[in-house]
């Protein structure tokens, strides 16, 4: 086995098909889109060379900044929520519920396998106000807290937060399971030694458990970041970017520009900015964690 994998030709033979598909499916569209950014027009009208005008336009477009800010805010809130709650759940599984955690793990993981559109339907019913109160508003009514009844998804001040809650709820089970797997790998004797030394509760987690599962934690953060930066179908299904533009993220704005308004060039420019944003943030996270790990 070792002989074969030591042979460069053999390695190439193994990875060639996958590499080819990867290049065709991933790099070609990226290059294609980058070319579009220098053009304006649509499929019907035809394309005219526009130089850098799309790039100038994007940096003086208030809607772009608005959706960029929405995306960043969404990413910060949701990534923090997903990974933190995922971690808390996994700690709960390992240290408190232990053997009986199977059922709870399944339940928490359940939303991950549900289709996004179904979850969006669920949440829009949950936070409904008309024609009938949804669960949340009904609950507030029963508890005599009528002043807190709100059209949750119909106003700019709350729609964004409902979207965040939905996305955290949907994916935290996924991170819980990944981190749970990481925790299972923490050697029992290390934990016991720490306990003998008097570490327990949060101290034990902070100084022993977390450093040991750090690589998995970092992977989770990167997974979550790349998922939330590109958030699209959740928004379309729950609020369609509204009310107004309050939940229009970069990818939704890109879609509107390219396919609703027919500005392919401008849409591609937004896509390219999104690509760089994802790349830079991922690299930063990677670099910071790498430095830490080599200390």
């Amino acid at each position: 086995m070792h002989k074969v994998l030591g042979d460069r030709k053999a390695i190439f033979l193994f990875i060639a098909p996958a590499l080819l598909i990867f290049l065709v499916l991933l790099l070609v569209p990226i290059i294609w889109s980058s070319v579009y950014t220098f053009f304006e027009g649509s499929l019907i009208k035809g394309f005219d060379f526009a130089g850098l005008s799309n790039y100038f336009a994007i940096f003086s477009d208030p809607d772009f900044y608005n959706s960029l800010w929405t995306t960043i805010k969404f990413t910060l809130v949701v990534t923090t929520g997903q990974v933190f709650l995922g971690l808390m759940l996994s700690l709960l599984f390992v240290f408190y519920i232990k053997k009986a955690s199977f059922l709870i793990r399944t339940l928490v993981f359940f939303p991950v396998v549900l289709p996004t559109v179904a979850i969006a339907q669920l949440f829009s019913k949950l936070f409904e106000i008309a024609p009938n109160y949804g669960l949340i508003n009904s609950l507030l009514e029963v508890l005599n807290m009528e002043q807190y009844i709100e059209p949750w998804l119909g106003q700019t001040s709350t729609a964004f937060w409902i979207l965040c809650i939905m996305e955290i709820w949907k994916a935290m089970g996924f991170y819980a399971v990944i981190l749970y797997a990481g925790l299972m790998d923490v050697p029992e004797d290390v934990l016991e030694a720490a306990k003998i030394d008097g570490a327990k509760g949060w101290k034990l987690t902070q100084f022993i458990v977390l450093p040991l599962i750090k690589p998995i934690l970092i992977s989770s953060v990167i997974f979550s970041l790349s998922g939330t930066l590109k958030v699209f179908e959740q928004v379309v299904a729950l609020t369609n970017g509204g009310p107004g533009k309050s939940t229009t993220t970069l990818s939704v704005y890109m879609y509107q520009q390219a396919f609703t308004s027919g500005n392919y060039g401008y849409g591609s420019t937004i896509a390219l900015v999104l690509l760089f944003l994802t790349l830079v943030i991922t690299l930063v996270v990677y670099r910071v964690s790498w430095k830490d790990a080599t200390k």
Partner: protein, 431 residues
């Protein structure tokens, strides 16, 4: 040894996959050649309707009787039709027939990909089948380029109201916006929600703004804006936006207007929970549906958008539209298609009315006797209309439409002022 076996197996699998793919291709080719060897001509039709309803049903019923053609209907969600058709147009592969937004046809007309209906129908000798008012409307929407779309439906818009609720509260049909607001206040006091508005769909809000505007400036208001004769930040528009904002803030639209979709709004009205519902005659089919309509067909009345005191609008002007219109690919229009079109659209108005109770932009020669009262009301109203007013976004491009509609949600919520709303729109219109 093991490794060799694995390698051999992998190659064998890859070979199998390749062989599988290629034999699939062959199978497909065989299918296609079979199809083309039969003499049925395939006519492709992209519509937002399924073959069981509206014009799609009429045309597919017609085609079922034809032995030499085979109509293939592909149903696409209305919001995706523009995108799908532009992709097909770009690859020179428009289907023979397709539904489209008549005010967005401009580019397709300019590059010659859609058929000139006026010429074609004159050649076929069936131009008289078209209702002149509908033709006017469509020519207006193509910005004077001519007639490139068929009005397979024709709608008037207005306020549908629940007669029983009006009677119970001693209300009469309002003649002016002031009357409308007073009536709404009375309804609110009596604990009845005045309007059902589908704010989630956005356009029902801008239709109300438009309603005020066309009464202030007359039916040509939005035309004048697009010609530059009128600024969208003028007094009449400010008053219109302010009125609609206040209606929202005062609770005329009920709670959470921006979360209401069109089905919910319609059901709110049809279950007697709202007194009025602004909509077009496309909803008449739903009003006629007894399972859905719990307030009774005879209980629904229609009044035109009320007047603005001192305004130029008249009650004989109605908001009208032709919904999604039907266009034909110029490339694929050959003799066989011409014959098909001639047969299919001769007497189309009668067919639509008789079979579907549907009002189209084709003339009706023989009115069936058992027409529903609401369909009759619609027909009479269309006949009585002197001028047709376009809807708010009728002259807007896709970007302008998006700005008008998205910000309308913020307007009714009170997040932006009427002046801000109009300034943002003005900026986009000037781009």
């Amino acid at each position: 040894m093991k490794l060799k076996a694995v390698l051999t197996l992998t190659f064998a699998l890859m070979l199998l996959i390749i062989v599988g793919c290629s034999s699939n291709d062959e199978a497909n080719e065989n299918n296609e050649s079979e199809r083309s060897s039969s003499d049925q001509r395939e006519i492709n039709f992209i519509s937002e309707d399924t073959p069981e309803v509206q014009e799609a049903k009429i045309l597919s019923d017609f085609d079922a009787e034809q032995s030499d053609t085979d109509l293939q209907i592909e149903t696409i969600e209305q919001n995706n039709i523009l995108q799908q058709i532009s992709l097909l147009a770009a690859s020179n592969d428009l289907p023979e027939l397709f539904k489209y937004e008549s005010n967005q046809l401009g580019d397709l007309i300019d590059n010659g990909s859609v058929l000139n209906i006026e010429e074609a129908f004159n050649d076929l000798g069936i131009y008289e089948e078209l209702n002149p008012a509908a033709v006017d409307l469509l020519e207006q929407l193509s910005s004077g380029r001519g007639l490139y779309a068929l009005p397979v439906e024709l709608n008037i818009e207005g306020f549908w109201y629940n007669k029983e609720i009006f009677d119970e509260n001693g209300l009469e049909v309002p003649e002016t916006w002031a009357d409308l607001l007073t009536a709404s206040d009375k309804l609110l006091e009596a604990g009845v929600q005045p309007f059902a508005v589908a704010g989630k769909e956005r356009w029902p809000i801008t239709r109300l703004i438009n309603g005020y505007v066309i009464r202030y400036y007359g039916a040509n208001a939005m035309e004048d804006v697009s010609n530059g004769d009128l600024s969208i930040t003028d007094q009449g528009f400010v008053e219109a936006a302010t009125t609609v904002q206040n209606m929202g803030q005062d609770g005329y639209f009920g709670q959470g207007v921006n979360t209401i979709d069109s089905d919910t709004a319609l059901d709110t009205f049809l279950q007697g929970q709202a007194a009025m519902y602004y909509s077009g005659s496309w909803d008449v089919a739903n009003f006629n549906n007894e399972d859905r309509n719990q307030i009774g067909i005879d209980n629904i009345g229609l009044f035109n958008t009320p007047l603005v005191e001192g305004g130029e609008g008249k009650l004989s002007d109605w908001s009208m539209n032709a919904g999604l219109t039907l266009s034909l690919s110029a490339d694929k229009y050959d003799e066989q298609m011409a014959d098909w079109v001639k047969e299919a659209f001769t007497g189309y108005g009668d067919k639509a009315m008789k079979e579907m109770g549907m009002v189209s932009g084709f003339t009706v020669e023989n009115m069936p006797e058992d027409v529903s009262p609401l369909t009759e009301l619609t027909l009479d109203t269309i006949d009585s209309a002197e001028n047709a007013a376009l809807w708010f976004e009728g002259r807007f491009n896709a970007d302008q439409k998006l700005v008008a509609e998205q910000n309308a949600q913020l307007l009714v919520n009170g997040d932006i002022s009427p002046e801000e709303y109009l300034e943002l729109l003005d900026e986009e219109l000037k781009k």
